[in-house]
């Protein structure tokens, strides 16, 4: 589904990603871990098409297409979804209105008929159950005044409504209380299928207890320095990033 080769990206001349290689197949869940500032969110945003980052080298193929050629909205319409680490507030625009605009933009892209407000509401009410979302969040302005945890839950609600093929979840677990984590992770599991794939960015093994990854990667200094199965996360939880730091820093030094 997704094939990233030697991806380099920089912002204001500063290189942040320097040579990422990653292959994600349909049905798989990949976890990406790594210390603060290692480039996890940058990778997520580059994949989502943020124009603030300049891709200086490498390629990204998604469903056989050159993804770097597509605009952010076309990528979204092609089924790429990003749950933001810091979801954005849009004052005065209700959550449902926003989502309907999004769904209809995507349907239009595929030449499908757009939803009217009534049909859409019944779809939305169905999807709300997946993350046990309270109805009051439908009419509130997008993320405005939402608590940190509410914002994260709202992102997964968006995911449920948009039904993407490739979901990149950037630290969706941070900010969620214990119950919310269980509910939201449960929601992600319900959305998991053999046809879609999920890339999870997280700092904590805890989330991976709920959403079991097929692969775990460690990002350090803008590069994937180690990959493994779910046991790698346990190992990191136990030992921290020191070994990884030492190994890769000395590798660079040589």
């Amino acid at each position: 589904m997704l094939e990233i080769k030697n991806l380099h990206a920089s912002v204001e001349g500063k290189e942040i990603l320097n040579g990422i290689d990653l292959t994600v197949n349909a049905g798989e869940v990949h976890a990406i871990m790594g210390p603060n500032g290692s480039g996890k969110s940058t990778l997520a945003q580059v994949l989502a098409g943020h124009e603030g980052f300049e891709v200086t080298d490498g390629s990204v193929t998604y469903e056989g297409k050159d993804m770097l050629e597509l605009s952010a909205e076309d990528r979204a319409c092609e089924g790429v979804f990003l749950a933001f680490q810091y979801p954005v507030e849009i004052p005065g625009v209700s959550n449902t209105y926003f989502l309907r605009a999004a769904v209809n933009a995507q349907r239009k892209y595929h030449g499908e008929e757009e939803y009217d407000a009534v049909d859409f509401l019944s779809l939305v009410k169905e999807k709300m159950k997946i993350v046990e979302m309270d109805e009051k969040f439908l009419n509130r302005a997008v993320n405005q005044g939402f608590s940190g945890g509410e914002k994260k839950r709202n992102e997964i609600f968006h995911m449920a409504v948009l039904n993407p093929k490739l979901s990149i979840l950037d630290e969706t677990d941070s900010g969620l209380d214990i119950d919310a984590l269980r509910i939201v992770a449960g929601g992600v599991n319900k959305l998991r299928s053999k046809d879609n794939a999920i890339v999870l960015v997280t700092h904590y093994q805890r989330l991976l207890n709920y959403i079991e990854p097929d692969f775990v990667h460690v990002l350090y200094g803008g590069k994937i320095v180690k990959s493994g199965g779910k046991e790698l996360a346990l190992e990191l939880e136990d030992q921290g990033y020191d070994n990884i730091r030492e190994a890769s820093d000395s590798a660079v030094a040589v």
């Binding site: 989502a48 603030g52 909205e73 954005v88 625009v93 989502l99 995507q106």
Partner: protein
């Protein structure tokens, strides 16, 4: 009479004698302004003597006045002798079909979703479509008349209800109020008149849109709305379609009078030609709008969405004279390219327990300048007056400007005043968030801007709000990305 005035009078009188003579049969006056022109206009409209006198008084005052220059807008000096002050609608110049109308104008109508027949009407096409609207207007008028509501053109009102016009004309905006109001008082061409008698709630929104003769109303309109005790009326100004007016100066006057327990709601969606993207052409929209809450418990509410004009300069205001009266001002002003807007309100609290609310949303894009200027004045007898003001500005790009000038004059210690102001840049992160969900940048900007203006839009009648939203999108087209 002062010496100076006398001189002017003699001068102008002599001009009348030897200069250009009044020709009532003519369709339009030659360019320029003089007492003769004022007399010509009045004669053309077969006005009573008192109204001619009133016009002349205004004209003489205007001669003594200086064009104001304190506002934060810039434009070349207007040559008042170069303007034609009276021109009857030229039927033969009208396009015969939509084929003859500027395609760009039609494209805009289409975007607004205006039905074809109405497009014809708005473009001034002389076809049968117009008759539909005339009959609509007549049905309306009859229905209103049953309840004693008068809704007609200003000229008709002068002939049919001279006592009412005489009583209220200039009672809120005197003929000498300011440079442009004086000019309007001297030469106003036509406009609307509304009178809602005691205890009557006007059963429908009154809109000039349905009054076909107003489509050709010139650059100096005059509107007068009177709501008697306990009456209610909601008035929608202008058709929202962008009329491509070649006229450069638009100097209108609007006066509202609310007696005890009366309510007037006045909504405007202004979309005059803003000039092209290089700042060429466009309307100078210099308008004086003022409402007087003359009676106790009365309420006047202004809602405006200003997207057009090269320069917009207006301050719809409320004089809160009656005790417990309420004034409201909700405004969205959008400027793009080289547009300039200096707009806001004046809330003059005179009565006790008077209350005012000001919500202003300014959006600047391109190289435009957008200024909010507002005055809250609390008179010394205005016990317990309250005002809440909120002025938010949104900038798109870094070549435009947003300015806020709130003035306060408080002569009574019991006043409670609250003022909030914010300036924000339309966030790239907001646009990216929308893009990421599949929404195009153009739609994202539209959505974000409409969200920003929501508090104002919800004050507009439904259909108006929908059109205002579309207009906003059109005005800001191409301003981001």
């Amino acid at each position: 009479m002062s010496e100076e005035l006398k001189t002017i009078e003699t001068l102008t009188k002599s001009e009348y004698k030897y200069g250009w003579t009044t020709d009532i049969e003519a369709d339009s006056a030659p360019p320029g302004l003089s007492e003769d022109i004022v007399r010509f206009i009045s004669a053309k409209k077969e006005e009573p003597e008192w109204l001619l006198e009133w016009r002349l008084k205004a004209y003489r005052r205007w001669l003594e006045m200086e064009e104001p220059d304190w506002q934060n807008v810039h434009y070349p000096r207007i040559d008042y002798q170069d303007i034609i002050y009276y021109s009857a609608p030229k039927v033969k110049d009208r396009p015969k079909s939509l084929d003859e109308v500027d395609p760009e104008l039609l494209a805009t109508y289409e975007k607004l979703g205006i039905p074809l027949k109405e497009q014809e009407m708005l473009a001034g096409v002389a076809v049968d479509a117009v008759f539909d609207s005339v009959s609509v207007a007549t049905t309306f008028k009859e229905k209103l008349a049953e309840q004693g509501i008068i809704f007609c053109s200003f000229s008709e009102a002068v002939h049919d209800y001279p006592e009412l016009v005489k009583k209220y004309l200039g009672s809120v905006v005197p003929h000498s109020d300011n440079f442009f109001a004086a000019l309007n008082s001297a030469v106003f061409s036509d406009g609307s008149f509304v009178f809602v008698p005691k205890g009557v709630r006007c059963p429908m929104e009154l809109s000039t849109y349905f009054r076909i003769n107003s489509a050709q109303t010139g650059q100096f309109e005059r509107t007068l709305i009177v709501a008697e005790e306990g009456a209610y009326v909601s008035y929608l100004e202008g058709c929202t379609a962008p009329m491509r007016d070649e006229n450069q100066l638009h100097a209108a006057v609007v006066e509202l009078v609310a007696l005890d327990d009366a309510q007037i709601k006045y909504s405007t969606v202004q979309n005059w030609y803003p000039g092209d993207e290089h700042g060429k052409g466009g309307i100078y929209n210099f308008v004086t709008k003022r409402g007087k809450c003359a009676g106790v418990n009365s309420k006047i509410s202004w809602t405006q969405v200003e997207t057009g004009s090269a320069i917009t300069w207006k301050y719809p205001s409320c004089i809160l004279q009656g005790d417990n009266s309420v004034g409201e001002f909700y405004s969205v002003a959008v400027t793009n390219n080289f547009q300039q807007a200096d707009t806001g309100t004046k809330m003059i609290h005179l009565g006790k327990n008077t209350k005012s609310t000001i919500i202003s949303k300014g959006i600047s894009a391109g190289k435009s300048q957008n200024t909010y200027r507002g005055l809250v004045k609390i008179g010394k007898n205005a016990e317990n007056a309250r005002n809440f003001s909120q002025c938010d500005s949104m900038l798109m790009g870094d070549k435009c400007g947003a300015h806020t000038f709130p003035y306060l004059e408080i002569k009574n210690e019991t006043a409670q005043i609250e003022h909030e102001a914010t300036t924000s840049k339309i966030g790239e992160d907001q646009i990216f968030y929308c893009n990421q969900r599949g929404i195009s940048t153009e739609d994202a900007v539209n959505m974000i801007v409409n969200g920003f203006c929501k508090e104002v839009f919800r004050e507009l009648p439904m259909e108006f709000a929908v059109e205002a939203q579309k207009l906003l999108g059109i005005s800001l087209e191409g301003s981001v990305g």
